[in-house]
């Protein structure tokens, strides 16, 4: 998602989104319940194989899983101090496997597929919930992440160019103002593209 999608036609890519989502939740729950290090190693192995099957190269995989390792570097020794190394190691292992599974889902599923999944899921409730609107809301929220990031980068750059330093407020005001203008323009474009059809 958010442009993290790694195109492919593997069985992992082709598995229906809702089934994938179900398997993901079952997988995460199961990993949370695993009690022995050996079982965790097996789970790790299974996820590793799934990455190979999906054809995800090391780099995008690392971009997803890497950040969590940095957190673990700090958290694991702390927990080891209180609960011992085995418990700390199990906790870290569970977290890594769970994050890896979630990342595999985002790397192999397009936003459109997620939206369609949601629509199918919400179908029984269509009298109360407009699934299309919900889907659009999700898509637009995802779309806004890079947009706001870009605005922040530009405002920071403009500040540097003028040599102004300043409070967080001095950064927040132009960012909010520009985000509102962008939101206005996107709203206009949505109408032009037939949002209210």
């Amino acid at each position: 998602m958010i442009g993290l999608y790694h195109p492919g036609s593997s069985i992992v890519h082709r598995t229906p989104t809702l089934l994938k989502l179900l398997l993901l939740s079952v997988g995460v729950t199961a990993v949370g319940l695993l009690g022995q290090p050996r079982q965790l190693l097996v789970a790790l192995g299974v996820v590793f194989v799934l990455y190979i099957v999906a054809g995800i190269p090391p780099r995008p995989a690392w971009e997803q899983i890497g950040p969590i390792l940095w957190i673990l570097v700090i958290v694991v020794p702390l927990q080891a101090l209180f609960a011992g190394w085995t418990t700390a190691g199990m906790m870290a292992g569970r977290l890594v496997v769970a994050v890896a599974m979630a990342a595999l889902f985002t790397l192999t599923t397009t936003v459109t597929a997620v939206l369609e999944g949601f629509q199918a899921l919400l179908h029984p409730f269509r009298r109360w919930i407009d699934a299309d609107r919900v889907g659009l809301l999700v898509a637009l929220t995802l779309r806004c992440i890079p947009l706001v990031a870009e605005i922040v980068a530009e405002v920071l750059e403009a500040r540097r160019a003028r040599g102004t330093q300043g409070s967080l407020l001095a950064l927040a005001v132009p960012v909010v103002v520009r985000s509102l203008y962008a939101a206005d323009a996107i709203g206009e474009a949505l109408v032009a593209r037939g949002l209210d059809d």
Binding site: M1, I2, G3, Y5, P7, T110, V111, T112, D132, A139, L140, L142, R143, P146, L147, E150, A182, A185, I186, E188, A189, L190, V191, A192, R193, G194, D196, D197
Partner: protein, 226 residues
């Protein structure tokens, strides 16, 4: 070509009057709109698909009053904005083009087929699965065009579509607009891009200052600016 008419159209933002009694009957294939900053061009062309409803007068497209049939008119009129970033709503290139086709009652295969054809036409096939926000400015505007044309509108309105682009991409977008079978209405400050157009309307302080063939219209506009 489709007939677009402005009949006694005026518009005010609050008590600020920005368009005054515009009367136009447009049925040429390629129409340019030029004028100084703030003269009212964007306001004028936004009325063609009902993004702005005039405070007085009527705009019609193919005989339909835009104010009363905005939904129907928007299906016939595609709109290209200056900043393609604001026009991209989906995360990847292909999904953004396909977004236009939602709720059109097409099968998944038809959507895929038409999306692929549109991407191919604008040289974006290789980027189909890439994040749209990482494209270059020129590619983003090509994506905006693809996303509009996949719906097969009869009219394409573009409000300064090349202002943010370098000279080469500006030329490319303009050539595409010029060669379209659709009726095109382009607002621009880059006068050389209007070569080969059939008609140019010059707007000055909310009024039509000149209206005619590109050469004489551009002469009149340069005189106004001088």
């Amino acid at each position: 070509m489709t007939r677009i008419t402005f009949d006694g159209v005026s518009h005010s933002y609050g008590d600020r009057n920005v368009l005054r009694d515009i009367r136009l009957d447009l049925s040429e294939h390629r129409i340019g709109v030029v004028g100084a900053n703030g003269s009212g061009k964007s306001t004028l062309v936004r009325m063609i698909n009902g993004l702005i409803t005039p405070t007085r007068g009527t705009v019609t497209v193919d005989g339909l009053n835009v104010a009363r049939n905005a939904r129907e008119v928007r299906r016939q009129v595609g709109f290209i904005f200056t900043n393609p970033d604001n026009q991209i709503v989906m995360p990847t290139v292909q999904e953004d083009v396909a977004f236009t086709l939602r709720r059109r009652g097409l099968s998944r295969e038809q959507v895929a087929e038409r999306t692929a054809a549109a991407l191919d036409r604008f040289g974006l096939s290789a980027h189909a699965d890439h994040p749209a926000h990482r494209l270059s400015g020129g590619q983003k505007q090509l994506l905006a065009l693809a996303a509009v044309l996949v719906a097969e509108p009869k009219i394409v309105v573009a409000d300064e579509p090349t202002t943010l682009l370098d000279a080469r991409n500006a030329r490319r977008i303009t050539d595409l607009l010029r060669e379209m079978s659709q009726q095109v209405i382009v607002v621009t400050h880059q006068l050389d891009l209007l070569a080969g157009f059939d008609r140019v309307v010059v707007i000055e302080e909310g009024e039509v200052a000149f209206d005619g063939a590109p050469d004489s219209a551009l002469d009149a506009y340069r005189e106004l600016l001088a």
